[in-house]
């Protein structure tokens, strides 16, 4: 492997996109959560929902800022580092990104201002609506970017002339075959990831004896979300895997480390895939189970890695291990979520300290699983950048290795500093928790009050929605 602009550009893209994806995934989930909290507040008038909404909005603001700035980097990197890709698929993917900006980015960015700073400026219903619009915007953004990504995985609705893809049928392009399940998988991942952050926060506050009322609400809402979405995610993942068998057999073979298509695929629990020798070392596997899971029969034969020329195979180790990491975490999520639901059902969840102690450390679970899944699907797509249209190696910009080396070094430095600071600041906000003491003097149901009174009261109780004005809140 030589160090050239191609390799460094790949590392740079993997690095910047991995950092980026964490934040949108979290903000997709968190904006929806805040919107739901605000709606519950409007409906019930219970002040704890308002407290929680204020609390999570602050965290949302910090996360969203990090998502925005790391996202702008990506939209320019297609050009700076992958200019030949931009030319080859620009006719098809460009419009999808264009629609993402037009339908989602402006919506999120504009109503974010109302959501963050509009607590006293607009009526509660409009503020709540703004939160829903932001949540919808983030999901819409996911829609377009996953459409583009899925098109790269399995292009459709296009024709290639002189190495450049031209659109033929836009419906087929946008709703390309692997898109619906991939979108469902990613959205569920975002909500599940966020649910674990909420759960961990609630558990942490409960164990610290901090504002138990809101902490309990967080734990209950998170358990409900996890108990429902974790199994749902497994189901979607299963469908997604079966679909991968149809559309991306090389990726599936890499995930299963399946070398020999004359035998049914075994479910490899552990192995060290040796790509040179084209076999698995130290393999522990269950015969036929991979065939059953992907093709519905223990005896089904499916394409193995050896059915693809070496230059057409994806790397094996990364998809193989990342997939097991993802599925492993996913399984633990289901177990842990249902255990929580059972404890809740028995009325013991807030007394079961071992469960809460584990729960407070579960916040990274979703992020790790999400990144692992991302690596499975993106590395598994190699050596193609857009399958059958352009290979990664042919897509790189005519830039010098020195330029990319410098930019990569700068990205690593800047991201380390900025995102470490961001995560520490989020931790600080979480630690601080929602301001206590409000429950003594809760605002009444907003709909029964005049707007002015609600606003004044809310401002006395909750500060002004801006992190900087904590000084007027009751001391903790």
């Amino acid at each position: 492997m030589t160090i050239d602009a191609f390799l460094l550009s790949r590392i740079q893209f993997a690095f910047t996109v991995s950092f980026h994806i964490v934040f949108p995934a979290f903000t997709i989930g968190l904006s929806a959560y805040v919107a739901v909290l605000l709606a519950l507040w409007l409906k019930t008038g219970n002040p704890k929902f308002h407290q929680l909404a204020r609390f999570w909005t602050k965290i949302f603001a910090v996360s969203f800022a990090m998502g925005v700035v790391s996202g702008i980097v990506l939209s320019y990197q297609f050009g700076t580092n992958w200019s030949r890709f931009s030319t080859a698929v620009g006719n098809v993917i460009g419009p999808l990104i264009g629609y993402e900006v037009l339908t989602a980015f402006f919506l999120e960015a504009s109503f974010l201002g109302v959501m963050l700073f509009g607590w006293k400026r607009v009526p509660p219903w409009l503020h709540c609506l703004s939160a829903f619009i932001v949540a919808g915007g983030t999901a819409l953004s996911g829609f377009w970017i996953l459409s583009a990504n899925s098109w790269m995985q399995f292009p459709a609705g296009h024709e290639v002339r002189d190495g450049i893809a031209y659109p033929v049928d836009w419906v087929q392009i946008v709703f390309n075959p692997t898109f619906p399940l991939r979108f469902a998988h990613m959205m569920t991942a975002a909500y599940l990831t966020t649910a674990f952050v909420v759960l961990a926060t609630g558990a942490r506050h409960l164990l610290a004896g901090k504002n138990p009322e809101t902490a309990k609400t967080m734990v209950r809402m998170a358990i409900l979300m996890i108990a429902l979405t974790a199994p749902l995610q497994a189901l979607i993942g299963d469908f997604h895997g079966k679909q991968t068998a149809i559309y991306q057999p090389a990726k599936l073979a890499a995930i299963e480390a399946h070398w020999d298509s004359s035998k049914p695929g075994a479910l490899v629990l552990f192995a060290w895939p040796d790509e040179k020798a084209e076999l698995n070392r130290f393999e522990v596997s269950i015969p036929g189970l991979a065939s059953l899971l992907t093709h519905g029969s223990m005896d089904a034969l499916f394409k193995s890695l050896k059915d693809f020329a070496p230059q057409d195979r994806p790397p094996v180790a990364i998809p193989f291990f990342a997939f097991r990491l993802m599925v492993g975490i996913g399984t633990l999520m289901i177990v842990f979520g249902w255990l929580g639901a059972w404890l809740w059902y028995r009325g013991r969840v807030f007394e079961t300290r071992y469960w809460l102690r584990i729960a407070q450390y579960t916040w990274p679970a979703g992020f790790v699983a999400l990144l692992a899944g991302w690596f499975v699907t993106e590395v598994g797509r190699q050596p193609w950048l857009a399958t059958g249209v352009i290979r990664s190696a042919d897509a790189v910009s005519p830039v010098t290795v020195m330029q990319v080396a410098i930019s990569l070094a700068l990205f690593v430095c800047v991201y380390s500093v900025v995102f470490t600071a961001g995560i520490l600041l989020i931790n600080r906000l979480i630690d601080k928790g929602p301001p206590e003491g409000e429950a003594k003097d809760p605002p009444e149901q907003p709909s029964k009050r005049t707007l002015k009174a609600t606003q004044d009261e809310a401002s006395v109780l909750f500060g002004d929605g801006h992190p900087g004005d904590d000084k007027i809140q009751p001391a903790i």
Partner: protein, 334 residues
């Protein structure tokens, strides 16, 4: 190919870039002016005056970049590698200033480093945008539809001057915005600063207007061919008038008009640059027709643009209206 589709798209992207320059210009500008006060309350007030808008403003940059890829993929694929270093520099700088908006408040009272990040990030981003602007004007070396120049082709005295010019121009937009949106010491200081910055921007515009036709015969020809000159002479005259009006208004008690006239100056300068270069998108070789996307791609997004853009403008206006009025030192928006 339908000849008019690339023209429509050139106008659209030009509009997006122009909106970006004006909108993000003033919020980058207030950050450029950040070190001119040490008072924390005043800095809060300055930042609060743009806090609800900055994210929406910056989205126009994404639309500019994304739109270029949508409509002119080949131009995108040439321009981005050609300005690799300034663009990466701009992106990194925007990271610092973008997160500073949120981090600064959470980090209080230990926020000095985020004040620095806010100022430095915004200034470098503005400077880098000036480098790209200058680099576009001076042209890009292209062979076989690919960027064929060196990594530092963009680094010339002209582009450095453009960098300084853009920083100065954004700072002027920021200062006049503060005159418009704040009161008290912040507004008074901004009014004083705006006068100096206005002189700076007008000087920069004058130098570019003389330097570019001198250095590039095609630009000289565009402007000084008698038939063209007859048509185009009002443009520089109007720019000078706007400058004079802004100057007069800054000396009076006007609050909004200095900002409005500054925007006018920016619009006219932008129009001037467009006239200098049309129909070249990648000067000196490639026109908008050479680098256009497939007509089907143009039409597909244009359908969306025709109703989404008015919607975007509508709710952008709604947000500005929601946060109308002065940002005071004591209360801000709160």
């Amino acid at each position: 190919m339908e000849w008019y589709l690339p023209v429509i798209w050139a106008v659209l992207i030009g509009t997006a870039v122009m909106l970006y320059v004006v909108l993000d210009g003033f919020d980058l500008g207030i950050a450029i002016l950040f070190p001119t006060t040490r008072d924390e309350g005043e800095r809060d007030q300055m930042m609060n005056s743009v806090a609800p808008f900055w994210d929406g403003n910056e989205t126009w940059l994404v639309l500019g970049g994304g739109g270029l890829w949508v409509a002119f993929p080949q131009a995108y694929a040439i321009i981005m590698p050609a300005f690799y270093i300034p663009i990466i520099l701009m992106l990194l700088a925007l990271i610092f200033r973008g997160v500073a908006f949120e981090f600064r408040w959470v980090a209080k009272p230990h926020h000095a480093k985020w004040d620095l990040a806010f100022w430095l990030g915004s200034t470098i981003a503005a400077f880098a945008q000036g480098l790209v602007l200058g680099g576009m004007i001076q042209g890009i070396k292209v062979e076989n539809g690919q960027f064929a120049g060196g990594p530092l082709d963009w680094l010339t005295p002209f582009t450095l001057m453009c960098g300084v010019g853009v920083v100065c121009g954004y700072a002027l937009l920021g200062a006049t915005w503060l005159v418009f949106k704040t009161e008290g010491p912040v507004a008074e200081r901004a009014r004083r600063q705006a006068k100096t910055l206005l002189i700076g921007l007008m000087a920069f515009a004058a130098v570019v207007s003389l330097w570019t036709p001198y250095a590039h015969p095609r630009i000289a020809e565009r402007w000084f061919t008698p038939s063209n000159l007859l048509l185009l002479w009002p443009l520089p005259v109007l720019t000078a008038c706007f400058g004079y009006m802004a100057w007069k208004r800054l000396h009076g008690q006007h609050e909004f008009t200095p900002f409005a006239f500054t925007i006018g100056i920016f619009l006219l300068c932008f129009l001037g640059l467009a006239i200098s270069n049309f129909p070249y998108l990648v000067p000196p070789d490639l026109t908008i027709w050479d680098v256009a996307a497939a007509p089907s791609s143009h039409v597909f997004v244009l359908i969306g643009v025709s109703f989404l853009l008015p919607m975007i403008l509508f709710y952008t206006a709604f947000v500005y209206w929601t946060f109308r009025g002065k940002v005071r030192a004591d209360s801000g928006y709160h």
